[in-house]
Symmetry: C2
Subunit: 226 residues, 2 copies
């Protein structure tokens, strides 16, 4: 593998593991056992590394969220969309963590991310539309559909932060992909009231699959013995 690609891969790994803020270019170089100079031969600066990683992320999500225009969508499609989006979120999880700082430091990234967000919101909205076409949910007026799409987006993008901050586990215990996907449970919760009678049971069963196994994950001051 080319050094350039190794740098991108190692950066992503380190960023995901310890947060972009805690990882310096020297860390990345040391992790790969290359010199800082070598790293800076391949990338002008840290921002450029992050930007390229974002482009990968963007490409991945855009690929997943390519909603077919002709054919109707099914419950399987919905499952695929949700699973894929959370997979993407997991693979590039450092990104949303320091999002505001990253966007403040890089104009290109800021602009691209804004467009990316809007594409995602459109995709979510189209999914709602097609779910209604397929008779899975009741059709909604445009305005409600956009507001709901936005709520879905907020839940999806904030789910990981919630887990990491409100989680009962200590910092050492890292998150698992399974826990992350409990976000799907939350997203499906948003759709419950709009389900049609004919699909209600199926969707509720799907949702049940993602239900948090250990309720203690959001446990409070609760009994220590638990």
């Amino acid at each position: 593998m080319k050094t350039r690609d190794k740098i991108l891969l190692a950066s992503l790994e380190l960023f995901n593991g310890r947060g972009e803020r805690n990882i310096t270019t020297n860390h990345i170089a040391a992790h790969l056992a290359i010199s800082p100079g070598n790293l800076y031969y391949h990338f002008r600066n840290k921002s450029d590394i992050i930007y390229e990683i974002f482009l990968e992320y963007e490409k991945l999500v855009d690929f997943y969220l390519d909603i077919p225009e002709e054919r109707p969508i099914s419950l399987e499609d919905l499952t695929f969309y949700l699973e894929s989006v959370f997979d993407g979120l997991w693979s590039y999880r450092f990104f949303h963590r320091d999002l505001e700082y990253l966007l403040d430091s890089d104009r290109r990234l800021r602009q691209d991310y804004r467009e990316f967000t809007n594409r995602c919101l459109d995709a979510i909205s189209r999914i709602f539309e097609k779910l209604a076409d397929a008779g899975i949910i009741q059709p909604q007026p445009d305005e409600l559909r956009s507001a709901m799409s936005l709520n879905v987006w907020l839940v999806i993008t904030n789910w990981m932060a919630f887990l990491k901050t409100a989680h009962a586990l200590e910092e050492s215990t890292s998150l698992t992909l399974t826990e992350l996907k409990q976000g799907i449970y939350q997203v499906l919760t948003l759709e419950i009231p709009y389900l049609t009678e004919s699909y209600r049971e199926q969707v509720m069963a799907l949702r049940e699959k993602y239900r948090p196994r250990l309720p203690e994950s959001v446990e409070m001051t609760g009994s220590a013995g638990g």
Copy 2:
């Protein structure tokens, strides 16, 4: 005003304005025209400053979210809760921005914040319960109510980040409290399907008040002509 309080106030102001990550203790001291040594006489380190600011924030929100046990709650109460929570979020808006890093750097803060989150979730859940008691929304089974409360929390705490990142405006144009409160529109969107017939119109009218005035705020690549 005592130097100690001035430090807390200036820190909050600077953190809110430019992000905790971009503000050093030296910045804070310079802003107040005091010496770094003076600052460190009053606070052991930067974390301690942040921790004390969090305690204020916590106190404020706990005060607002003190749900009365005896009397039923009204729509006015709901409005008050929403307005207050977003006011709090606004006043301490730096906090959620760098949340993960802050919690990673300070165990006390991590623990306290976790409990704080759980108290908030409980409060939201109790509000739902009492809204149902008051006949404003339909009663929900416990499990659905917790999942919905969590969604409300996710929307509330992520709303600001969304505005700052997806906003069409440039970085220089700062957020206004009015824009922030459009988050109330999003929260009320979550409740729409559960409204009772007798209150539907009133709540929809309330929601309308917070509707984003300029739809361009979430505008996409849309027609340049506007």
